[in-house]
Amino acid sequence: MIDLKNLTIKKTHEALVRGDYSVVELASAYLEQIKKTDKDIHAYLEVYSDVLEQAKVADEKIKNGTATVLTGIPISIKDNILIKGRIASSASKILENYIATYDATVIEKLKKEGVVFIGRTNMDEFAMGGSTENSAYGPTKNPFDIERVPGGSSGGAAASVASDEALVALGSDTGGSIRQPASFCGLVGLKPTYGAVSRHGVMAMGSSLDQIGPFGKTVKDVEILFNAIKGQDMMDSTTIPDKAVEVLEDKKMKIGVPRDFLNMGGIDESVVKSFEESLEKLKGLGHEIVDIELPNLKYSLAVYYVIVPAEVSSNMARFDGMRFGKRLSGKDGIEDYFLSRQAGLGREVKRRIILGTYVLSSGYYDAYYNKANIVRELITNDYKKAFEKVDVIITPTTPGPAFKIEEKAGDPLKMYLEDIFTVPINLAGVPAISVPFGFKEIGDKKLPLGIQFIAKHGGEEVLFSISKDLLGEK
């Protein structure tokens, strides 16, 4: 039996090269685990039927010495990332049978490494949500307590890794959709710098905010996966040349704490306690903790909930039942649009389209969309100023641990408040990582909590370094 719980990319690679087990045996162990646990967890919308064939190809590469560290590594893919010839539905009815016509750039890169794609994971429809309850195919459950959500929108991705149904995963993050589920499921999750990873072949939600990023059980796994998928891409004009901020080994950092922002209330006491413990631990490791001010961050959610619906209403216009996806037939062509979109799109998607149409409509554009962009710049400048003084900023990832299924489903504003710590990072385009730190015990359940580190543009190395130090990872 392979001990899936304690596997990392590096350990797996070494075992595969040594011949302790083959990729086929490894993949079979994951398929076995999926059979055992996924009927309760529902991390996957589809487990691919050719996993073992992919594994055989990877075994060949290992035998003939052309393997990389990622060859044969079992990975799950969020359902909004395209793999040619396979279904990609974004957990929506309108794309139920949509077969991707090309590979996303990140997939192309991973195929070259010879990874094994296990399946496509559940998510909030078109990545709109923070609980995976907005999936048209039923919610995913949190592996730490199946009465609770795994977070979202990349909830399936997080649950797949947390329940050992995949070694690592790819998700996407528009306002916290990687970091919040990573926090709820006790994992490491990275939202890279805006433009660091190509989005060619990922379904757009909030185009000025979306980034693809990795999930793993360790910082090192996330780092390996990030390095494999990053890079400027001709097919995505928002990608930027690699201009990584380098970190010296054993560097002691100046860590900023936005105290005012943390004191606004509504944060669970277990989160406050574990956050203070993380500060103590970092101090003990020789880092310096200083208070900083980010005075405009309190407006982040208001900005986010103007900009996102605006971009959503534009991006969702392509789903009209004409060229691909579900089509319902009306009395004429235009009625086909109306009926197809009514039947194919879910409640949260419709809500954001209507809101976005409103804030972009003539007479309201200046009042909402333009104002949101002005405040967005204030928020970006807050970070710029802060990073003149500190190397990294620290906050909790979420205001509380995983909440119960349906607890917040009826109240969109309450659900949006979940994202208070994660949203401002996407608005500024800086990178951030969530790492597991502490638990909240409720009854016999231990719910994981997360700490978020934020660095300046291109500062992923800073994030990996400080995260490894906090977690004691070598």
Partner: protein, 94 residues
């Protein structure tokens, strides 16, 4: 405050058919969100409209190396809801 007829107008602009229940729910949900985001007006009136072009710029490339004709036809046609030969089938417009 929005009214049902505003929701209907927005739905028409967005090309979505809505049931009466959906319209009522949207009215209930959208209004508090719009109320919440009005704080932006106060912030901006205190700092002034200072929006600059920032670092954003257009990125263009030469339109070269197109795919070979028909190299993707089959897979694209397969995704169409209705097709005839290599054509997308839609209702008559005129």
């Amino acid at each position: 405050m929005l009214e049902i007829k505003d929701i209907e107008k927005l739905a028409k602009l967005a090309r979505i058919e809505l049931t009466t229940e959906e319209k009522e729910n949207l009215l209930k949900e959208v209004d508090p969100i719009l109320g919440y985001v009005t704080q932006l007006k106060e912030v901006v009136s205190s700092v002034g409209e200072t929006k600059k072009a920032g670092e954003l710029r257009n990125v263009t490339r030469e339109d070269t190396n197109p795919n070979e004709t028909e190299s993707n036809t089959e897979i694209l046609v397969a995704d169409m809801p209705e097709s005839q030969g290599n054509y997308l089938k839609v209702k008559k417009i005129l």
